[in-house]
Symmetry: none
Subunit: 226 residues, 2 copies
Amino acid sequence: MQKLKGIKVLLVDDEPNILEFLEMGLQDEGFEVMTAQDGMMAVTLAKQFQPHIIILDVMMPGMDGFEVCRMLKKSENVAIIMLTAKDEVDDRVKGLMLGADDYMMKPFSFEELLARIQARIRNQFPNLMEEVVHGPFRIDDRRKEILYNQRVLELSTTEYELLKYLVINQGLVLSKAKILDKVWGYDFGGDENIVEVYIRSLREKLKDKEHRLIRTLRGSGYRVDL
Amino acid sequence: MQKLKGIKVLLVDDEPNILEFLEMGLQDEGFEVMTAQDGMMAVTLAKQFQPHIIILDVMMPGMDGFEVCRMLKKSENVAIIMLTAKDEVDDRVKGLMLGADDYMMKPFSFEELLARIQARIRNQFPNLMEEVVHGPFRIDDRRKEILYNQRVLELSTTEYELLKYLVINQGLVLSKAKILDKVWGYDFGGDENIVEVYIRSLREKLKDKEHRLIRTLRGSGYRVDL
DNA sequence: AGTAAATATTAAGAATTCGTGATAATCTTC
DNA sequence: GAAGATTATCACGAATTCTTAATATTTACT
């Protein structure tokens, strides 16, 4: 498995045992870890420590996880994974989770948490991975730039997000529904046609006239071949 | 002027005013700063945060500065500067200070503290010194001046702070929300438009007619390219 | 080949975001 | 307290981006 270097993780939970358990485990994996036991502390620490990712328990005395998530998402570029007990998950909670990037139900295995963290990092900070270069593509997320054959592509935000998603999942077939979910968000009401429109725009900018780079798999979706 | 980058400082004092004053000043100088208001917290934070240097007030309720110093010096590789009120300094205190690397008597000027910190760092972490020239920009934080191509820019305070923030984070995309947070403060109530207005003013003074120096990334923010 | 479904292409208008100049409010300085 | 600089607000036009919808083309299947 790939090792991530210099990734900062902030753990927030009111149970010291869990906190310590996770802290030791993550440090062992090479993460830089800090911990907070309540919401206020979490917000303060997040501003100071500037973590890449926050593992955030929903149920806490005082300011709860939702509140913390809302406050930080506004201004900080950080991935948030929410933790919740299994029996707390109803629709209301699910709704509130939406600000987060991912969520997990307790109890979970440490391996699972690790996998989720890696997935988040890959998604949100692909430049921190040792592998930033996907064939002729180079994704620089901090600059919000994608290079194709050493040339900067002039992309709108949506085009950028879409191409990034496609390239990162290079080799996989991605259905339009899935693309819509990931790039436009689960609550996008419009037609799937918009994906086609954007794919076309990307192909044009990539001079992919023959559709060899971004392949159409009729009935299944699209796939980037490198 | 030489600048220190990535130096972590932990401030420990029970007076929030002093704490805040020093924190802002040091952050302004480019240090990574965290704060603690009592001895217990200081020890906990020191273990997690692994600061290069600790500024430690002697007189605190609960665990006092000596105690904290003793505990940390045993196991952590950290420089400690102790702070004490002038009238507390007798021979007994001097004796106890010996564990520390340096000490200062209150009141002291910020400049003095800076000098001491720099001296300590030079001594204990000589490999961390760095020059602060960002391409054609030279930021002189003591004079609150920014030079662009050897010319002094005539900037208002806000313009100065904004340009400094942009230049220091050169190459990164900074959202307007984030800029507001960092330059105007988290509690600024107004509209994000003010960022646009100031960006415009900076572009004018930088003669950046083509927006090549300060680029707009529509929907994402701004980015300085050097 | 004929047909239906899926995808591609295009263009137009809706919506959003940004830039700009004017102006009001606030703070400084003499 | 007048003059000047600075900061903040506002409104509107310009520019870009997003979305939709209508039409064309391709593909799969009978």
